[in-house]
């Protein structure tokens, strides 16, 4: 377990010198922990709400993020997460953090959410973003839930400006494929599909689902964006290094991997768009 585990002290309670030092620091910066009427102790138990909350919360307002936020393979904000206490998403541990608000994913932690609500903890659930409108909507919702609407509006405006700059010129749309473990691909109506489209690439499998390796080889797209591989190895990921795929890609400029920037609907996905655009330009 890393540092920052265990229960973070609640401001105003006597929890030894560390809490006192924190209190002094908070007073010194003369910044309120949270706007009036907004929840003062927010806990996030979902990788994507972790990142939105870390971007939007007032100092001290976000008490804990999920342990996944510290995994560099999934989280685009590892450094920020290291500054926060982490939880493993268990209802009991989250309840002990004494939150005023819990941010959760809609699909992954139903039982935990149900239990927390029965214990009287307010929970806001967020569906994973499937397109850029969802990204904007989720930013606005997290902002509203934290009482940080201004910060959310600024973040959305920055997102739109950067996206517009990346999208700038339209030209030839080279064919590209997204290829993940177990031969899965992401269709046009997925977040990854929208990232691909924003970079000016055309998805060869707009319906998504399984893309048999044979079809990928026959179609021979100009760019194949493969899922990043995880430690420990698995049979599922072996297809990403299949000799036939390696032969297809041999001698081509390397395509970026679908890494942590692709996972969540946050402004970090623009970094993925940027790398894809650079890769597209090397194709011209």
């Amino acid at each position: 377990m890393g540092e920052g585990e265990g229960r973070p002290p609640r401001p105003g309670r006597r929890c030894g010198w560390r809490a006192a030092a924190g209190l002094v620091a908070a007073l010194a910066s003369a910044q309120p922990a949270a706007p009036a009427g907004a929840p003062g102790r927010v806990v996030s138990i979902n990788l994507c709400t972790d990142q939105l909350a870390m971007m939007l919360a007032a100092p001290g307002q976000l008490v804990s993020v999920s342990s996944m936020a510290r995994d560099p393979r999934m989280s685009a904000m590892v450094a920020e997460a290291a500054e926060h206490h982490v939880n493993h998403g268990g209802a009991e541990a989250v309840f002990r953090l004494d939150p005023d608000l819990v941010l959760a994913g809609r699909h992954t932690t139903r039982a935990t959410v149900r239990l927390l609500r029965r214990l009287g903890v307010p929970v806001e659930e967020f569906a994973p973003a499937r397109d850029f409108d969802d990204v904007r909507a989720n930013i606005a919702r997290v902002g509203a839930a934290l009482g940080r609407e201004g910060a959310a509006e600024a973040l959305v405006a920055e997102f739109d400006a950067r996206l517009a700059a990346l999208r700038a010129e339209a030209g030839r749309a080279p064919e590209a494929a997204l290829y993940y473990a177990n031969s899965f691909t992401a269709g046009a109506e997925s977040l990854a599909g929208h990232i691909l489209a924003a970079a000016g690439l055309s998805n060869i499998a707009p319906q998504g689902g399984v893309l048999p390796l044979e079809r990928l080889i026959m179609r021979a797209p100009e760019l194949v964006v493969r899922g990043a591989r995880y430690p420990g190895g698995s049979r599922a990921e072996e297809v990403l290094a299949h000799p036939a795929l390696r032969a297809l890609l041999a001698g081509r400029p390397a395509a970026p991997l679908a890494d942590a920037d692709w996972v969540c609907g946050t402004p970090h996905l623009l970094r993925a768009v940027g790398r894809l655009r650079d890769a597209r330009e090397t194709l011209e």
Partner: protein, 330 residues
């Protein structure tokens, strides 16, 4: 003898036909002429990759894996004089899968390619030795199956444990593959890893025919005929472990092939285990090729697992065998 030769020739022809069919069927939808031109003359870059790097290893692995399972099943049934002996049912396949999972999860197989079949083989040897130790050399049906169930349950629990503890997010879904087996997207690398061990195992098992024939008369009679039983046993253990271990390491556990094939062929070979060995190897190859073709025809986009089909055919057959065994009071 001529009748036996005819049977072997027929089985070989069936296998070759299925091998060709396996090469010509796939989601890329290539025409026959196109496929053959790509396979033999390398016409068309993408077509050649599909034929030589995807379909050829797939069909080749089906042959080697099927042969390994069929031959091992026939050899085990002959040695134990028990119709229920089968690499999957008695836990050898499960143990080999465990060895392979450990090799992959510890990163050993990435560092040293031979570690994958090697670990599977070692685990399979241990499982066979444990089984023979528990069930005794005569291997009564009851103790054999009980010991096999215990070993299977233990190895699948350990496999699940290793996968649960893995940092890899896909590890949890890997269980499906190791329990049911699949030939999807295997490569020449896998074929090159498994085939030598399967051949080695077959080279150890096929010469055991004479000894297995003598064993049908009982152990004393076999020894009187000059059969070295301890050597026979050692060769059997190593032969089964090498072929089943290597096959399982690259395709997962494909069940029931070693059970069904020897039974289907026994009426055609007479009661001689020696004749059943090669025939079962060919028959096993044909059965796995058939199952793998069916997998691609039934649900081409779903990666239906190979073991699902062999179990759908094999399990009712197994129940029928148990029913008959009970009636005959064996």
């Amino acid at each position: 003898m001529t009748r036996h030769a005819l049977l072997l020739a027929t089985l070989a022809l069936v296998m070759l036909g299925l091998f060709a069919a396996s090469l010509l069927i796939g989601p890329a939808g290539l025409g026959v002429g196109e496929s053959l031109a790509a396979l033999f003359r390398g016409e068309g870059r993408a077509e050649t990759l599909v034929m030589r790097e995807i379909r050829l290893p797939r069909a080749g692995l089906a042959v080697f894996v099927g042969a390994a399972l069929g031959l091992s099943g026939a050899a085990l049934q002959g040695y134990l004089r028990n119709p229920l002996a089968e690499p999957g049912l008695i836990g050898v396949t499960g143990a080999a899968g465990l060895g392979a999972v450990v090799a992959i999860q510890t990163g050993l197989s990435a560092a040293l390619a031979l570690a994958l079949p090697g670990m599977a083989l070692i685990a399979a040897v241990l499982a066979v030795l444990l089984l023979l130790g528990l069930a005794g050399p005569r291997g009564g049906a009851f103790t054999l199956i009980l010991a096999g169930i215990a070993i299977s349950a233990f190895t699948s629990a350990l496999t699940a444990l290793v996968l649960n503890l893995s940092p890899n997010p896909f590890a949890a879904t890997e269980m499906m593959f190791w329990l049911m087996g699949s030939l999807a997207d295997r490569s020449m690398t896998h074929l090159a890893l498994a085939a030598p061990f399967v051949v080695l195992g077959a080279a150890m098992l096929i010469p055991l025919g004479r000894g297995l024939d003598a064993l049908t008369l009982g152990e004393d009679a076999a020894e009187a005929l000059g059969i070295g039983l301890s050597r026979l046993r050692l060769m059997l253990v190593l032969g089964v472990a090498a072929s089943v271990g290597a096959a399982t390491a690259v395709t997962g556990a494909v069940g029931f092939v070693g059970l069904v094939v020897p039974h289907l062929l026994r009426p055609l070979t007479g009661a001689q285990p020696s004749r059943l060995l090669v025939a079962s190897g060919l028959g096993g190859a044909a059965m796995v090729l058939m199952a793998d073709i069916a997998v691609r025809l039934i649900a081409p986009e779903r990666d239906l697992k190979l073991g699902v089909l062999t179990a759908l055919v094999g399990a009712p057959f197994f129940l029928h065998l148990i029913w008959r065994t009970r009636r005959e009071g064996v």
